[in-house]
Subunit: 578 residues, 2 copies
């Protein structure tokens, strides 16, 4: 794709900027602000057509005054100015931008001189609250600094209307869905309550870009959104919420779309995912072709994480070695120093990178070792590390696992034996309800009807809340056990899921969703084997082809989605010429 | 003054809008929003040159998201647009607008299309906080919707640089001082640490407008700002903070300036001051002439307050009358009904006025009467009154007063007798310190030096805080006694003040301030008897003359302010031609 082509959309892609994260920390307080500045400057330097944010621009639902002030100031500094905008919006903007009194894109406002429009969905950190359903983004939206889109006001049914954009000959349909509790959205997908509207005209000409902010990795049986749930007419999904930078698009072979996961631009935890080198993306779209250039962020604080299993150092010490704890501490000191040296080498010449890196050493001291005094250890690195107080994380993996299993089983037994209090009865009721709901997936009436029955009892909110509460509690329960690696969580979740046969139910749900898609007239995904690929290469970028459409799938061919949904599946607004 | 004159500034004046006040109240929740809408609409209808706000635009230091969203939305709706602006700013805007990265007036920003610039100082409700010293207004400032001015960043010394404006031949110097704790500002005035800078050139041609947000009525010996403290070159003071609408300018015969007190636009208490009919002002300034038109606010909820002294109804009942409490309740019922009928008559045809008025009946039941059950009483008016729960306010004035005096004396005695705890010793120390500081006013070294001595001990903040704490505590103490009328508070304050001879000290302070003004070369205020008055009349408006300057007081005549302050007294920035 040639640069600055009049038919090429240039889009800066970023998610999870978490503005305001640790803003009171003396060392790290400005990290999130510095990186937003870098991101916006990058957008300006690259003369992008627009910025696309995948949620969690703010770390806090109610950002501090300083945080809002910084954000407003930076947006005004970088996104306002005389640079002309080269694309038009063809869709009904009253539908696209439904959160303010000014339901039109900011750059078309006669009173604002916007040089780079920013489009953002909300994340789970900056989600809408209160009777008005406003989120922090809406303050930026009301001032005309950001275009907040993808906010569904219904909790039962979602229709996603794309922002239809045209630049030269390229047609881009931008779909967005702001963060929704995963379980709820999961259920809505399963119950066929999520509809993506598409333009009727020239259906094959649109590049379909979808931005979502949900769990992508499986945090629980229904506590994530399987990629398979998403409509397969999508070309590229920009997946927010997941903090690991996996920005190079991966192809979903079943759905035939690509997924890019830009990851956070500031580490909000000291987990391995945050240690991956952080990037933002420069997406180019021309016709149906696309290309994503990875842009490394220079202001991001370095983060090094390493695991040490003490039992692996039998040649040096065992729990019985004299002064073993001192030896362990020395080993850790050496490891941390090593990481610091690596950080320093890497940082050479990078003037924008903060001097003190984040360091995490996870020490598995299973097998009878003792933890040493971490406060004394921290003291040694206070001048060199950004997080001196929590460098060392001791964990005892194997023993703990057994403990958890024991406890879990004990808990499950207790429930049917002990004398129950009222709240226990309520819990039991909902556990039973949940089972019914889940099991009903296997029956003809489906989950939708099962829930509807409860909803009809006029206790919609209460039930919804309690179910969500129960599901979340179970998950917190598992996470609270100090189980830190992803494998562990997965194992635990699987174990828990097996008790209610949930793992299978999830598969059933996925298959059901697929079946529904087939029912409404879509072709089976595997049948689409012929692809016309458009390859494009670029140094330090990830070339990849867009998933082309199979024969006979375009236009009218996808018309009859059948069974009362057909009409809704199409975007009915008139396409306006500008 | 002819309307729409090319030399006439038209300024909409309002203060204490208290946006967000009681926003969660089912009945009154939208009152503050409706009135801001009315005010902004009025500014637009009258095609004013600018809006001047005297502080407390927001009721809460941290306004809710809804509140900020509403405010941003209304400002964008009414203050942006194509109407051209007809005045220029001649002063150094970097000095005038020092709270954002965009230190220039919003209407000169190339990226914003402002039709009505709004200028605001901050009040005590929306004052700057945190390490950055930002207030809610600064969010509006950063987004370019309001011009926040009058924010002094020093707590020791204040220099007020005016925004110098010119429209046609009229020159307007707009001075502003955002809210500062009264005691602190009082002390700064006394210590000669408040300087108002004036343009060197054409000093006599400027109309000097000063906006302040402080106690105007005496809430304590040093807990207000005497008008005499303000420089007498000022022509008009717009006084915020005081909620009673006394918008018709009153002339200060000593200082020879006028003071307009627009008052709040929403009642935030059920006190008599809030019951005065609420107005905003349309100020016209042409050359040195001015005229203030009162504009009644239509969206303000009616508020009626009435006092009943039960002892005055001896012909109807006494405490010994059978079923006297029932008779009292009937009397109150009749009074409230009467007020409601009056409210209804007044409201006839006023479609914008909310239906349910605020009603307060203060019942003095001194002399052995008993209070009746107000919750049952409230129930009767729940459909007709906006504040059914607190219509009746029982008070027993006379007995209470005696109680207070007894208690106060007891308290003062106890201090020197009882065994003291550490905190009591600290209190005693500061009480003594305060006396010293106050008394030192009478000595040559002056209050400034006395304070300086404490400051030099490196305990500046601690001492400042403790003194403020002590003063505020004393005042709260007095207010907490259920003493509600202003006269009562005044009496109490005077009584308390007498104990430390404070009343006299205040007079001393005022005289000292005057003396200082004389020292630095100003002519004594009473000497200025010759006035050239410019009268102007208008229906429903308050015509009044601007205080003209006496001979020999202009230009060079006021040059030598003497004693090391001379140079600072002049506004040194170059006057730029636009």
């Amino acid at each position: 794709l040639s640069h600055n082509d009049e038919d090429t959309f240039k889009i800066l892609i970023a998610t999870d900027i978490h503005l305001g994260y640790l803003e009171k920390d003396a060392i790290r307080g400005n990290d999130s602000y510095n990186t937003l500045d870098e991101i916006l400057k990058c957008a300006k330097t690259n003369q992008v057509d627009f910025i696309l944010l995948g949620g969690d621009l703010f770390h806090d639902n109610k950002p501090s005054r300083r945080c809002l002030h910084n954000c407003i100031t930076m947006l005004r500094r970088y996104c306002m100015g005389d640079t002309p905008i080269h694309f038009n919006i063809l869709s009904d903007q009253n539908v696209n931008f439904n959160t303010t009194e000014f339901p039109w894109v900011n750059y078309q406002d006669e009173n604002l001189n916007i040089s780079i429009p920013a489009f953002s969905i909300h994340g789970n950190h900056d989600d809408p609250t209160g009777a008005e359903g406003l989120c922090a983004l809406d303050l930026l939206s009301a001032s005309g600094l950001v275009n907040h889109f993808g906010h569904s006001h219904s909790v039962e049914k979602i229709e996603i209307s794309p922002i239809l954009m045209q630049k030269g000959k390229t047609k881009l349909a931008l779909f967005g869905l702001g963060s929704i509790p995963d379980e709820r959205l999961y259920r809505m997908f399963v119950n066929n309550q999520v509809t993506m509207l598409r333009p009727k005209e020239d259906q094959d000409e649109w590049f379909n870009l979808f931005t979502i902010h949900q769990n992508r990795s499986k945090h629980g049986p229904t506590n994530y959104i399987p990629e398979q749930f998403l409509d397969d007419f999508i070309d590229l999904v920009v997946w927010g919420h997941e903090h690991e930078c996996l920005i190079a698009p991966t192809r979903n072979e079943q759905q035939l779309f690509y997924v890019t996961q830009p990851g956070s631009s500031v580490a909000t935890s000291l987990s391995p995912g945050e240690a991956t080198k952080k990037h933002i993306g420069l997406l180019r779209v021309k016709g149906r072709k696309m290309n994503l250039e990875k842009i490394p962020l220079k202001t991001v604080r370095q983060f090094f994480i390493q695991d040490v299993v003490l039992a692996d150092y039998q040649d040096q010490f065992t729990p019985d070695t004299p002064q073993v704890t001192k030896k362990v501490e020395d080993l850790c000191y050496a490891k941390v120093t090593e990481m610091l040296e690596e950080a320093e080498r890497e940082r050479l010449g990078c003037l924008l990178t903060p001097e003190k890196p984040l360091i995490r050493l996870r020490v598995d001291y299973s097998g009878g070792f003792e933890a040493f005094n971490t406060s004394r250890f921290s003291q040694k690195f206070v001048e060199r590390v950004a997080n001196p107080k929590d460098i060392i994380h001791f964990l005892r993996r194997r023993e703990q696992k057994e403990d958890i299993k024991g406890q879990t089983e004990a808990k499950y037994t207790a429930h049917s034996v002990e004398g129950l209090r009222v709240e226990d009865l309520v819990k039991q009721y909902f556990e039973a309800t949940e089972q019914t709901v889940q099991l009903s997936l296997l029956t003809e009436k489906g989950m939708g009807k099962a829930i509807q029955e409860f909803v009809d009892k006029d206790e919609k909110d209460a039930i919804e809340e309690l179910i969500t509460y129960q599901l979340e509690k179970t998950q917190r329960h598992l996470q609270a056990r100090g189980v830190t690696t992803e494998q562990d969580i997965d194992a635990e979740v699987r174990a828990a899921a097996c008790m209610g046969n949930r793992a299978e139910e999830v598969n059933v749900a996925i298959n059901r969703a697929k079946a529904l898609r087939l029912e409404r007239g879509d072709e089976p995904v595997d049948a689409d084997l012929s692809r016309e690929l458009a390859l494009d290469s670029d140094e330090d970028s990830v070339p990849f082809p867009p998933p082309a459409r199979g024969r006979g799938r375009g236009g009218r061919g996808r018309g009859g989605r059948g069974r009362g949904r057909g009409e809704l599946s199409y975007y009915l607004s008139q396409i306006k010429a500008h």
